[in-house]
Amino acid sequence: MSSPANRRAGGVGLAALGILAISQRAYVTLWRQPVLIISTMLFPIVYLLILGNALNRQLRAIPLAVVDESGNVLAAECLRGAIALESGRDLLRITPVSDREEALRGLRRGKFRAVWVLPFGLSRQGPVPSFIGDNTDRFSFDTVEAALSEVWDRASTPGGQARAAPAVRLEAYPYLDYLTYLAPAVVCLAIFMGSMVSGGLQVIEDRMYGYHEGYMVTPISTGTLVAGHILAGSLVAALAGAMVLVAILIMAPLPVVGAPAVVASLFTIFLTSLSIASVWFLLFARARRASVLRGAFGIINTVIFFPSGALYPVESYPQWLRAVSNVDPLTYGLKAMRDVLLRGAPPSACFAPWVFLATFTLVCGILTRVLFRREI
């Protein structure tokens, strides 16, 4: 029995083989279900295209009623400015309306998004133009209001008076459109999806179908079981994240990317995957039904993805949301990737996020080990 052919690994060797076995199964299972891989990788890219284009576009052709009660030179100057906004930026669709009441009726019926009244006796000292806008859409309201204020400012500035010199405005990095800004967020989304499919779902499915019984009666330690599941979940997530990163590098050329930035990003992807997979496993350490995952997915997605600063800067969040963001592993993964991919920072800029991600994974792993029950 003790011949080399029958020798068995123990201790660290057994742990390594156990982790290898769990990972092997996760990988093979995933490759045998191509629909799962495609949806894992396609979803974030579609998300990028839809969200990027939905949020990135300039406002166009906002219907505006202009009521010129004044008819003086200043009013004509204002009208010229507004028409310039229509024909130039295509921001407005102007309809001249003779009666203020009629214009307001149109506003209430949704025919116009705003009414601009140039009152009788319009002058620099007053009366000045009135802006009445549809504030149910705050974004359009603010944009049109700001544009028309600027038109009034220009029109009301005396021709001979020198304008103040514009403030100095410099961009620290090459031009980035919103789509490119979103790219690291999409990688994170791919990680999130990948870890859910191969981490969260796998753990619950194993319990539901009884596969986990096969693991539980083997001599590998519970710590190895937990580590193996986290690693297995993270490898698939990291693969999804890496493939999406490559797709983005091809599709949306990032301004400053070199080999060190790509390597640092890949390592960030791996650590982020580990941390997200550890969250899934911690959450489902005791769950037994897939319905738990279905119920939890929306909440987890919201709690992990949105506070990370993926779509809007973290700086815009209220204090309590900042607190969530501060413990969200995606925040750190995103920051590291944005630093090296968009800002051209050296890989050393990632050290702090890496330390956070590794610590986060370790803490989740230990908690899971405590919660995990090796019983039926």
């Binding site: 080399p4 052919a5 029958n6 020798r7 068995r8 690994a9 123990g10 060797g13 057994l14 083989l17 156990g18 290898l20 076995a21 769990i22 092997q24 199964r25 093979v28 299972t29 045998r32 279900q33 179908y209 009884g210 596969y211 019984e213 096969g214 693991y215 539980m216 009666v217 083997t218 001599p219 590998i220 330690s221 090796r374 019983e375 039926i376």
Partner: protein
């Protein structure tokens, strides 16, 4: 010599419900021990306690001398399990399933591949090693489960309803396989649960009959059958329902353990050689019944089960 299994007053309660009640027994090396009982008798609970998957509420049990609560790793090293659940992954091939399982037991390299080949040949799946598990038939999948359970050459193999839901041909194949395993490895102990009487009779050296969490009796199948005061099993089918007074008269002839699942069929036991079966058939004919058939055979484990529990198996 250390017994393969030693259980003492093993009990498991789930709230107010006692699934396993004060169970004591032992299994020696090389023995095949059957736990026979209907669904819900507590067989699976017992197996789960012995395989470290459930913590006993009280009592103790040891597998190869290792306590199932305090020395779980040693127990897990010594045992192999084939549970009722399908524990092989349907997305993996036959070979990959065993490869994953082998690594979990610390096997690798040539040692692992050699064992996989040997076990797959034993269960007749070597030719199908590259087939995805979900494409296998129920019987083949079960054989794969057994190969998985014995891959690492356990000292004690636990089989929980190994042939449940299989057709007779597949059951026979699995029985043959298990018999070959025990004959090729004299020290291998097998504990199997079943609700199939013929399975326990065919495979087991000793059988414990279990019902409602308790062991009712324990002995070799032959001794259990001999232990019944009666040794003959009589079955008579008549052309119509047998009335209660007629039944009383047949019982008076020496029939015991009367069973009447179908109204026009009676089954009972009687002492062998006294002609009770034939006389019962004559009596029924004299009362105007037409006897369609009469069967007289030695008692089975099913009769033993009935005599101890007073009811037939709830599941066939």
């Amino acid at each position: 010599m250390i017994p393969s299994i030693e259980a003492e007053k093993l009990t498991k309660r789930f709230g107010d419900f006692t699934a396993a009640d004060d169970l004591s027994f032992s299994v020696v090396a090389g023995e095949t021990y059957g736990i026979l009982g209907p669904n819900g008798a507590g067989k699976t609970t017992l197996i789960r306690m012995l395989t470290t998957l459930l913590r006993p509420t009280s009592g103790r049990a040891a597998v190869k001398g290792h306590d199932v609560v305090s020395d779980k790793t040693a127990v897990r090293t010594a045992i192999g399990t084939v549970s009722q659940a399908v524990t092989t992954d349907e997305n993996l091939t036959v070979y990959e399933n065993l490869s994953v399982q082998g690594k979990m037991h610390g096997l690798w390299g040539r040692s692992l591949s050699g064992r996989i080949e040997r076990r797959l040949k034993e269960v007749g799946l070597w030719e199908r090693r590259d087939q995805i598990a979900r494409q296998l038939s129920g019987g083949m999948r079960r054989r794969l489960e057994i190969a998985r359970g014995v891959l690492h050459s356990p000292q004690v193999l636990f089989l929980d309803e190994p042939t449940a839901g299989l057709d007779p041909q597949s059951r026979r194949a699995i029985w043959g396989m298990l018999e070959e395993m025990t004959s090729s490895d004299a020290s291998l102990s097998i504990v199997l649960t079943t609700h199939a009487m013929d399975e326990a009779d065919h495979l087991c050296d000793r059988v414990a009959i279990m019902d409602r969490g308790r062991f009712l009796c324990e002995d070799s199948p032959d001794a259990l059958k001999r232990g019944l005061a009666t040794g003959e099993r009589v079955e008579i089918e008549t052309d119509r329902e047998i009335a209660a007074p007629d039944r009383e008269d047949v019982l008076a002839l020496g029939a015991v353990n009367w069973r009447s699942v179908i109204p026009q069929v009676v089954q009972f036991q009687a002492k062998p050689g006294e002609g009770v079966g034939r006389r019962a058939a004559q009596l029924l004919e004299e009362r105007g019944y037409r006897v369609l058939y009469l069967t007289i055979a030695p008692v089975t484990l099913e009769d033993v089960f009935f005599s101890y529990t007073g009811h037939v198996l709830r599941e066939a």
